[in-house]
């Protein structure tokens, strides 16, 4: 059941990305181009997505466990450090270069867009590099 819910959530998430325009890098870049012909549409995506999620996380906070059991796996980290800020800046530069963030890139792979396939391959390489660097930094931690 959890697996079916995960698939359905991924599907609805992906449909939302397509309907909202987030799945189109040229639209994303239009939003990020404040000094050009700015397209504010994606601010509305944030409002819609955060509005619904805000209610959901409030409801989740009142429950002892999720509906399907198990526990809540919510991020525990609270520290605001250079890793968080520099990592996010590096992500933002990549996002601004291509107009893709991870979700929309995966949706575009589903539409067999070859540039999206190349993007996701490079993204996976970046994530593997992170794992490798983390293991090198903390040997024996695993």
């Amino acid at each position: 059941m959890r697996e079916i819910v995960s698939f359905a959530a991924g599907l609805v998430f992906g449909l939302g990305l397509i309907v909202s325009g987030m799945a189109d890098p040229s639209k994303v870049l239009g939003f990020l181009d404040l000094a050009g012909k700015w397209d504010p549409s994606l601010a509305f995506v944030m409002v819609g997505a955060i509005g619904v999620s805000l209610v959901a996380f409030r409801l989740a906070g009142k429950r002892a466990a999720p509906v399907l059991g198990g526990g809540f796996h919510l991020p525990a980290a609270r520290q605001i450090d250079s890793r968080l800020v520099l990592g996010s800046i590096v992500f933002g530069v990549g996002w601004g270069l291509a107009g893709f963030c991870p979700g929309p890139a995966l949706v575009a792979v589903g539409a067999v867009q070859m540039k999206a396939v190349a993007f996701v391959a490079a993204m996976v390489a970046g994530m593997l590099a992170f794992e490798w660097l983390e293991r090198a930094r903390r040997p024996g931690d695993e």
């Binding site: 999720p66 968080l84 933002g92 970046g126």
Partner: protein, 141 residues
């Protein structure tokens, strides 16, 4: 402002769908709909923690096909060259793992949880995104 391509209603509605997906995932399974974290977890596999990640990604992959049952899929315009795409993908991969989240994990779920950490992350990648597009479109070209 670009009023020709401005789509407030479609974007708001799509955003509501994204929020609904995040709501389903957290209320039913207790998980955060953060795409970079969901993929990243596959590279540090833990038993019993893999199938849901693969299926969430499968759902994303299936979205264009399902969308096409109702309406023609709007083919994305990807302006960047292959070299820029590869560099961008690498930066997004490394950056989202060090920053522990992307547009969905920090920008949607984190902000909805009122997490100060996610607010800092979101401001950081938004400002970097604005600055990068400004540099590419208005300084280099």
């Amino acid at each position: 402002m670009d009023l020709e391509n401005f789509t407030p209603w479609a974007s708001l509605f799509g955003g509501v769908a994204i929020g609904t997906a995040a709501a389903m995932l957290v209320l039913l399974t207790g998980r955060i709909a953060g795409v970079s974290g969901i993929i990243g977890g596959l590279f540090k596999p833990v038993r019993g923690d893999i199938a849901w990640r693969v299926l969430f990604v499968a759902g994303l992959f299936a979205a264009p096909t399902v969308y096409q049952l109702l309406k023609p899929f709007p083919v994305p315009t990807i302006e960047a060259t292959h070299a820029v795409i590869a560099l961008a993908g690498l930066l997004v991969g490394v950056g989202t793992r060090y920053g522990a989240g992307c547009t969905s994990g920090h920008g949607v779920c984190g902000l909805a949880r009122l997490s100060p950490r996610s607010l800092v992350a979101t401001l950081s990648f938004m400002i970097a995104g604005f600055a990068t597009v400004f540099a590419v479109r208005h300084l280099v070209h």
